[in-house]
Symmetry: C2
Subunit: 347 residues, 2 copies
């Protein structure tokens, strides 16, 4: 227990300066400072030791200097990168937490953090699953997939669903939820290995490598001769434009992300929005932050499904905080296979 206020060395990932275009590892730097493992007098926060960090595409938004308010605030150059992670409580000024508790939620990309916004943390009660799952399957990505699919897509048995970036942290789960619902599920990804995962590990009905398809519209027509009822949108750009004319009457597009667009100075133009009228399609953007109240219900659904082997999850685990910048950058090149996790410490 480290509540005696010892000073420790604290490795940190620092955000250097605003990014335009593709981020590079050199947009972040590693720094080692010292941290006192003690809360200031009267603090209601926590001192935590970070165990696992989550690499998520939305972090790219923090690296841009925004001229309008955004749901992702711009980082300040020189600050520690922040994101979702799993941590162990070392000291607590909040009666809801005690030393030794495991939590997941917003934390810093560093070995030790002081968290003041404790209301954003979830206490981890179930430890008979891999702890790292709370960075993804049992964390934000899982809740995103759950809320996005069940709350937004109004899925019905027998409907057809297409998922882009389907082997990613969210996509792999959406596909499995859709299969459990009795949908026909097709996913796309950017390598043969990922396509194999989709078909053989996650049980998608079909999957394809979008890089092998010069005509995305033709590919979609092939997999969906009668059209798409639900599109779970993770990619944006050309993919979205190809999907729109393939939507069925009263189709739904849950806009979860548009990773192909995050690094462009000007997003690509989408030309086929008239399909929204022709097919009476609903397209809706959503943020998981509006669905935290569903977390309990989500766990009740997902934990038993994991234990019964009905839901499986693939992580791409990188060891060591020093490798976190490369892991994050890798997301935008599609280098990760499955949910990208960084291990800071295993205990």
């Amino acid at each position: 227990m480290a509540s005696d206020g010892v000073e420790v060395s604290n490795k940190q990932v620092i955000f250097k300066d605003y990014v335009t275009g593709f981020p590079k590892e050199s947009d972040m730097e590693l720094r080692t400072s010292t941290a006192k493992l003690k809360l200031p007098q009267g603090s209601t926060g926590l001192v935590v030791k970070n165990l696992y960090l989550s690499c998520d595409p939305y972090l790219r938004g923090h690296m841009t200097k925004h001229d309008r308010p955004s749901y992702v605030q711009s980082f300040n150059p020189g600050q520690t990168v922040t994101g979702y992670g799993v941590a162990k409580v070392l000291e607590s000024g909040d009666p809801k937490f005690k030393p030794g508790d495991l939590v997941w939620g917003p934390t810093g990309w560093e070995e030790y953090s002081v968290i003041t916004a404790t209301e954003s943390l979830f206490k981890i009660h179930h430890t008979d699953v891999p702890l790292s799952y709370y960075t993804g399957l049992l964390g934000m990505a899982g809740l995103t997939a759950y809320a996005g699919f069940f709350e937004f897509c109004s899925p019905k048995k027998g409907e057809t669903i297409y998922i882009s970036a389907a082997s990613g942290a969210v996509g792999q789960l959406v596909g499995q939820f859709a299969k459990l619902t009795g949908c026909y599920v097709v996913g796309s990804a950017g390598s043969k290995k990922k396509v194999d995962l989709l078909k053989n590990k996650f049980g998608f009905d079909e999957a394809f490598n979008y890089k092998d398809e010069p005509d995305l519209d033709a590919a979609l027509r092939r997999y969906f001769p009668d059209g798409i009822d639900i599109y779970f949108e993770n990619v944006g750009g050309k993919m979205l434009d190809a999907v729109l004319p393939n939507m069925r009457l009263k189709g739904r597009i849950a806009v979860c992300g548009m990773i192909s667009q995050y690094n462009l100075e000007k997003p690509e133009g989408i030309h086929n929005l008239m399909s929204l009228i022709v097919k009476q399609v609903r397209m809706e953007g959503f943020l998981v932050s509006s669905y935290c109240h569903l977390y309990g219900k989500f766990l009740e659904t997902v934990l038993p499904a994991i234990k019964e082997g009905k839901i499986t999850y693939v992580e791409d685990v990188v060891e060591g905080l020093e490798n976190a910048p490369a892991a994050l950058i890798g997301l935008f090149a599609g280098r990760n296979v499955g949910k990208q996790v960084v291990v800071v410490s295993r205990e």
Copy 2:
């Protein structure tokens, strides 16, 4: 009564051939044929005399050769143009209608028509309002405005709404519904005369001429410093792209039409769809054909409001079937001020 099978001269507007780009008057031609005002033995259709015809932007869709199924089927070259209109029944093989009844619904651009799809017709029971209103305010445009605003936009008192093409057949009504709901209402249109109508006749809070605004984003920021809760989309293209970043959290975009795009060989690209995620916006296309069951409720709301002067309506009335092609083409140049109606005959 003309049920004795007399042969009459029948002026018709004929669709000549598929159109790309802007339609021209010469894409249609006037022909005079003869019509026998008698139904074939056993027919369950109607012989009608057409009184008023509705010029609607969606008609442009019929003039395109579609390579995919669309809600507007391609016209066949050489056929009579068809659209919505008000007509008087001359002869009936359908027990729900009798000679002398007034109806509105799909009919031909000609003096006399035989209508077989009688299930698409609405009988007109209220004739203490101008009959031409059934081409617009009390017809498809009115129901479009009603269903689009009340069913899709989930409007709440105090919310802000922006309407493009606001002085058109649908826009002028949406604005008045929104004012009656207690919203802050801003509309745009393409001339000073139309802007004056919006402010002085329809009671919009603000209105502007989009042609006077080189920076649409700046204009929208000026009228909506705190953002837009509801966008009623009639225009598409650059206007939509300017609106997206100005939407408020949980905003709604009812996609009714995209008139700026109908004559382009390739629709303009929309770059700002990421705002759907950032602001958790819902964008949904709709067709009035799915809302015909609301027509009775709609009339119950609107008829008293017209009589009490709470809702007003501006029509741009052209006399004579021979002027119908020019009137239709005029829509795409914004020449009409208010709902474009063609009078074939006043009785």
